[in-house]
């Protein structure tokens, strides 16, 4: 069992004054609030670095706003790194982490992760259409889009996690995929609202269909996986509950929440969580490419499928991002240009809907276990619903709500300026995605699959995931989202 995975999982349930969830809300809302200043003409985030597809690396980086062009690409990169270092170091200090180790480890994590992103923007990797290839003077490319950098970051992390365990151990203070993806999801609220404001009927339809995800994850997936673990593989109740939750709901958070609710030993959900991360990586590396091949004509089916099939918030939402890039590239090659944001928004909506009910499901299981299965004095209490509620969702809702109001309930001038402001915040969303991909890679120690005892646990996962979860997720995504297309780009 990887100590890094244990530490990461424990971070998700920190009991200090500030949890990773609340820290994600603070950082995400801070980025959003700074971006909103541009609505009044004051650009506070324009120095953030963005990366373009390139053949000459010296042209790859630039500040996002022309007003900060004097900084240059390298200056923007350093400014972005410094600002993230300051904010995240303050956050880690508030979490009670080792600040000195974090500063050193984060510097290396940022350097490798962003270098991976730059590699992914190389024209031979990223250029998609023949027109782009012609523009860059190249005759072939991998056509991964510039978001192929996520795959490069994941691969870099996997190499470190599996071949350089000492380096992985040294980096562990900054390997925080749950924190990074939660910040990204809070920021994503602004982008989704801007996207939704353009087609409110389509957005509300996507939201309504998110209800189906709750039914599927909690009532269908969970019960079947629990049955498989108990009846077919003979796991005890203490192991089967976190395992079913990890495979069915949303990986690490659900395994830990439900494991705690039934009063399982703390080591049980943490061991399950380490397996969840490994399989999430396998899914990220396979499912987006399957979606591009077979579902490119049904983009929202693909987006919902990522949310339902890939476990852990980070992997699912990140997988939605890759899927969007791949499908939009394929559609563009066929002459169809969709508005960006809809596929990722569908994945995120499905995932957020599933997350909302973690606390309630944990309470239901806790009530049954502490009253009927292993009656004990410390019975499940209603207050545990709030304790186990993933608080970062509140940040997402606040950012989404404010953005939607600014886009539809204020003046046309503000509504017109909002996409640019959300775009500046989105630069940081992308950077937190990159950090998430790299961190997930580092945490994914595939050697543990060969350790004593893990084979049977992994067998439950393989049978459930590839025999049931992925295909039922696809079927239900198809039932609810087939025929619904994102709007075309104007």
């Amino acid at each position: 069992m990887s100590d890094i995975a244990v530490r990461s999982a424990e971070g998700a349930v920190a009991k200090g004054s500030l949890t990773e969830d609340w820290l994600a809300v603070v950082i995400g809302v801070l980025v959003f609030a700074l971006a909103l200043f541009s609505l009044g003409g004051t650009d506070l985030l324009g120095w953030a670095v963005s990366t373009s597809v390139y053949t000459d690396v010296s042209t790859a980086l630039a500040p996002i706003a022309k007003g900060y062009a004097a900084l240059g690409g390298l200056g923007a990169l350093l400014a972005t790194y410094a600002s993230l270092l300051v904010v995240l170091t303050a956050g880690v200090a508030a979490l009670g982490g080792d600040v000195k180790r974090f500063v050193l480890a984060f510097s290396v994590v940022f350097a490798i992760a962003y270098a991976s992103w730059i590699v992914g923007s190389y024209a031979y990797v990223a250029a998609v259409t023949p027109a782009e290839q012609q523009k860059f003077g190249i005759s072939w490319s991998l056509k991964l889009t510039n978001e192929g950098g996520f795959i490069v970051a994941l691969a870099s992390g996997l190499v470190i996690g599996n071949f350089f365990p000492r380096l992985a151990e040294w980096l562990k203070e900054a390997i925080r995929p749950e924190l990074y993806i939660k910040v990204a999801i809070v920021i994503l609220g602004a982008t989704i609202a801007v996207t939704a404001a353009g087609r409110l009927n389509l957005a509300s339809a996507v939201l309504l269909r998110g209800v189906a995800a709750i039914v599927e994850a909690y009532l269908i997936y969970w019960s079947v996986v629990y049955f498989v673990a108990r009846k077919w593989f003979g796991f005890s109740r203490e192991w089967s509950v976190p395992l079913a939750s990890g495979i069915s709901i949303c990986g690490v958070a659900a395994a830990i929440a439900t494991g705690g609710a039934i009063r399982a030993r703390p080591s049980v959900p943490i061991l399950v969580s380490s397996l969840v991360v490994v399989f999430a990586v396998v899914e990220i590396l396979i499912l987006p490419f399957l979606a591009q091949t077979f579902l490119w004509q049904e983009p929202l089916v693909a987006g919902a499928w990522m949310g339902l099939a890939i476990k852990t918030d980070g992997a699912a939402v990140a997988g939605g991002g890759i899927t969007e890039s791949l499908i939009m590239a394929k559609a563009a090659a066929e002459g169809i240009k969709y508005q960006s944001g809809w596929i990722l928004a569908t994945t995120a909506t499905v995932k957020v809907f599933i997350d909302i009910f973690i606390g309630i499901w944990a309470f239901i299981l806790g009530y049954i276990w502490t009253n009927h299965i292993t009656p004990r004095a410390d019975k499940a209490k209603v207050s545990e619903i709030w304790e186990r509620f993933p608080k970062f969702i509140l940040g997402f809702v606040v950012v989404f709500g404010i953005s939607l109001w600014l886009a539809t309930g204020t003046t046309p001038e503000i509504a017109k300026a909002l996409p640019a402001a959300a775009g500046e915040a989105n630069v940081f969303r992308v950077i937190f995605f990159i950090l998430t991909f790299f961190s997930i890679g580092v945490l994914s120690d595939f050697r543990k699959l060969w350790q004593d005892g893990f084979a049977k646990l992994a067998a439950v996962y393989v049978v459930s995931l590839f025999g049931f979860v992925i295909w039922v997720g696809l079927l239900i995504s198809w039932l609810f989202f087939s025929g619904i297309k994102p709007p075309l780009a104007s």
Binding site: M1, D3, V6, R199, N201, L202, A205, R209, V211, A212, V215, E216, Y218, L219, I220, W222, S223, V224, Y226, F227, R230, K231, G234, F235, S236, R237, E238, W239, R265, S267, V268, I270, L271, I368, H372, I373, Q451, D452, G453, F454, K456, L457, I476, L479, F480, I484, K485
Partner: protein, 50 residues
């Protein structure tokens, strides 16, 4: 933290499914299928108009 807990788990006798576990599985699955059918029906009766 080690994998000892997991090894020990696999050496333990199998715990039979209790009636309440069977109820939990059955009711969850039944309710889930019924709700999905209702949602699919609603989705069919009130399709999205773009």
């Amino acid at each position: 933290m080690s994998t000892n807990d997991l090894k020990t788990e696999q050496g333990n006798a199998v715990e039979p499914l209790l009636p309440i576990e069977k109820k939990l599985i059955g009711y969850s699955l039944g309710l889930g299928i019924v709700l999905l059918v209702i949602l699919v029906t609603i989705n069919h009766l009130f399709p999205l108009k773009l």
